[in-house]
Structure formats: C-alpha cells, structure tokens
C-alpha cells in the first residue's frame, strides 16, 4: 500500500515514539520541528533539546518504523541538537564571561566612570563582546554617560540588560527614581552585586567592565570575593594627592591577590582650544612615573578636554568618534589593556576535577 499521508497523520504516529532516555513521547517533548510529506515519502526534522553527541541513532530508527507503518516507504529523519554551550569562564555566577575587569581608583572625581564607559566602547569597536556594570550604587552614572533611554526587562525571572552602543549595561540608576538615593549598609550592597552578576543575562562576553565606586569599601570587597576578577585598572589624575590615594586601591587589590592590569592617567594635560598651547593642569606624567617605579604597566594617558565632558553629558562616549585624537587615546589604552588581560587570565588558578 502506498499513498500520500497528511502531516497530521505523521504527527499522530510520532506520538507513539518515545525518547529512550526520558520515556516521554517526542511530540510532547517538543522535538518535532518540521514534517514534510510527498508521494511515498516523508521528511521529519527533529530537534533535540539537549546536546547529544551520538545524535540518538535509536530514535531515528523508531521514528522511521512508526512512519513506515503508515504506508510511507521512504522516510527521512534529520536529527539536530543544539550546539553545546560555549566554554565556561572562571566564575560559576557568570559562566560565559571570559574576562572581568574592575575600573577603580582610590579617590573620587578622577573620571573612573568616563574611562570605564569609553574603554568599553573602545573594546567593542575592536570587535569584542562587552558588558558594562555600574557597581557604584551610590552614584550611578553609567546610563547617562551611555545615553541610556532603554531599561532592563525581566525575561524568565532574569534581567535582560539594555544595550547602548553595542554594550550591555546594568546600573542601580535603572532601579531608582532620579532624585532618590541609595542609603544602605554592607549586606544590601553585597546582595545587589551578586544580583548584578548572577541575575543579569550577560550571555557570552569577552569583557565585563566594572565601574567601581571610589575607595576601598564594601562593594570593592564583595566584588573581589565573589568572582575571580581577571584584574583591575587603576585610574588616577597626575597630581601626587590623587596618586597617593590610588595606592590604597592598589594595596587592596594586592591583598586580594587581584592583578593590577595597569594605570591610566586621566586629565593628563590640557590643550587650550584657542591658542593650542598645552597646559599640565594637574602636573603630567605622575602616574606613568609611579607605575614604572612600582612595576605596574602604564596603559596610557587621556587629556583633559571639554569635548569628553560634552560628549559624556550627551550620552555619546567620545571613543565612538574613531578619527578624533581623544578616541585614539582610548583606543591605545584599550589595546594595551587587552595585552595585559591575556597574561593575567593565564594566571587564574584552574580547578580540575577528575
């Protein structure tokens, strides 16, 4: 007997076929992706829900038998399984994030957030997948620096981070009315940091940049103890006073065994827009000198320039304007950073379970 059967009949027949491992029929498991019927033939596309290296040869056989019983002599079965998950990074909380970089300083007001945002943009422009986490819950500024108009959405119990300029963002600013303040003690901060890591759908990232609040307090400690950070970038202005506080941040990271990826000198010098003369407002080269004295990499210097401030206030980081010398300064810092990240991530201890 040979005839053309309908897809519905085929589907009925497939309800008799069980996944040998799960003992449930493949229709209710949702494996059946497509049924195509023709004269004396049927093609059935099956998509497994979990990666299966063997491709389940038994299953193809049972499907063929069940459909052949309808009187279809030529039955083709295509079984696909989803791609295995990407290799896991060092943290269980954010398994698909390769490198985590804290941007920190001792003192406030040295331009940490601006540097963090522009570094994220510069890395993204070099082709990396980048996330930017604003861990400064007291003074969150990342969304306005990045021109954030979107908000995170809840999808299946997790937060889908908004994407600005190709970068996934999360910040306390999204969860607070504009004029409200976070007045919290340590345990609340710790919980928030954990949620920013584990409850946000970061997905696969090459770099997760973390903009830190100033100082060496609860948030820095929580972050450093929760995930094996790849390393920290220290931002400082050139004058002695800022540098001396930056060493305190460095001392904290050293205590926690977190590598210092390098130092960025921000507001390094000022070029007068009228006469073009350069003025070293805070002195110049202090950070470079200190970095070499203490044996840390120096990642580069970013000049003090009103364009950075104007672009930042407008929510369009300067690093997006590829041709401007300011964007190139950030690009150079990002390139130097990538080199340091490579060697630092090789030093993350590997846990091997046999």
């Amino acid at each position: 007997m040979s005839k053309k059967v309908s897809p519905q009949e085929v589907l009925q027949a497939l309800k008799q076929v069980e996944d040998p491992a799960l003992h449930q029929d493949i229709v209710s498991l949702g494996y059946v992706k497509d049924i195509e019927v023709g004269f004396e033939r049927a093609t059935i596309a099956i998509e497994l829900k979990a990666p299966s290296p063997s491709g389940q040869p038994d299953l193809a056989g049972s499907i063929r038998k069940a459909v052949e019983a309808l009187g279809v002599p030529n039955v083709e079965v295509e079984i696909t399984s989803p791609a295995p998950p990407p290799p896991r990074g060092p943290s269980n909380l954010i398994p698909y994030v390769k490198h985590t970089i804290a941007v920190a300083s001792g003192k406030g007001g040295v331009g940490k957030s601006t540097v963090a945002a522009n570094l994220a943009v510069a890395l993204e422009r070099q082709g990396a997948k980048v996330g930017l986490m604003d861990t400064d819950v007291y003074g969150p500024s990342i969304p306005s620096l990045m021109g954030g108009k979107q908000e995170p959405r809840v999808v299946e119990g997790k937060l889908e981070p908004p994407v600005e300029w190709g970068i996934k963002l999360i910040s306390m600013a999204y969860f607070l009315p504009e004029d409200d303040a976070v007045i919290w003690r340590g345990p609340m901060l710790h919980k928030t940091i954990q949620q920013f890591l584990g409850d946000v759908r970061w997905g696969e990232l090459d770099y997760l940049i973390m903009d830190m609040p100033p100082g060496t307090g609860d948030i820095q400690l929580s972050l450093s103890q929760t995930i094996p950070l790849t390393g920290a970038v220290i931002v400082s202005t050139p004058q002695d006073m800022a540098l001396s506080v930056a060493w305190k941040a460095i001392a904290m990271f050293k205590k926690l065994n977190i590598p210092i990826l390098g130092i960025v000198e921000n507001m390094s010098y000022y070029v007068c827009p009228h006469c073009g003369e350069r003025d070293d407002i805070f002195g110049h080269g202090g950070a470079r000198e200190a970095a070499s004295r203490l044996g840390f990499p120096f990642l580069g210097e970013i000049p003090l320039n009103p364009a950075i401030r104007i672009q930042s206030d407008g929510g369009r980081p300067i690093a997006l304007d590829g041709t401007s010398p300011l964007a190139q300064a950030y690009e150079a810092v990002a390139k130097a950073l990538v080199e340091q990240v490579k060697s630092a991530s090789e030093q993350v201890p590997q846990i091997i379970t046999e």
């Binding site: 094996p228 065994n257 030093q347 846990i351 379970t353």
Partner: protein
C-alpha cells in the same frame, strides 16, 4: 599575597588534593588532613570537628571523606564542598601553602621557633 596555585586537582577516586603552585612547588594534601584543618569558625572552635560531625555513626560504616567540588573565592582562596555536607571553610592560598605537608615545607616550618 605571594602564593598562587596554577592548578588545583581533585581526584575523583583518589584521596588527595594536589596543588601546583605558580612558583613550581607541588603540594599533595590528603582529604582527611585538609578537612581536619578546615579554618571555619565552627571547626576551629570545636577542635577536631570530625568527631562531632552528625551522621557519622561508626557502626554504620564511615563513607570515605572526599570533596564533591571546589570553587575559587575571588582570586585569593578556595572553598571546598565536602561530601559530609560541610562547606563553610574558606582556605586562602596563603593558608594552603602553610599547610603543605611535604618534607621540605615540614622542615622549613620546624626551623621557625
């Protein structure tokens, strides 16, 4: 902190945890020794906590002690999840290095009064 492991190796069937350090040193700890040295508040307070662990009645036979898994704590310590249900001990790398039972480290320790 000077000492960082390159690899931490848990043997599924064996009874030792092996650390290869970044300076080339190798430490092999028996699970029982590590469990006895657990630095958490409960264990250090109770002395040798193994004697007081619930569910370890000797007449029922004692399950061989081993870690189910281990995780990094930041970049400075190891948290071991033991099959006796205990997991609150945070073993800093510095502490683990101090615990190294090899003859070389043993004799170095003896020299310190």
């Amino acid at each position: 902190m000077a000492f960082t492991p390159k690899t931490v190796r848990l043997h599924g069937d064996g009874d030792t945890l092996i650390i290869e350090w970044s300076d080339g040193h190798r430490s092999a700890y028996s699970y029982r020794y590590l469990r006895e040295q657990c630095p958490c508040a409960t264990c250090t307070d109770a002395g040798s906590s193994l004697d007081h662990e619930p569910g370890q009645l000797p007449m029922l036979g004692v399950k061989p002690l081993k870690p189910n898994r281990a995780e990094l704590v930041g970049r400075y310590a190891l948290q071991i999840f033991w099959n006796d249900g205990h997991s609150t001990g945070i073993y800093t790398f510095e502490y683990l290095r101090e615990l190294c039972p090899c003859a070389e480290c043993e004799s170095a320790r003896d020299k310190i009064p």
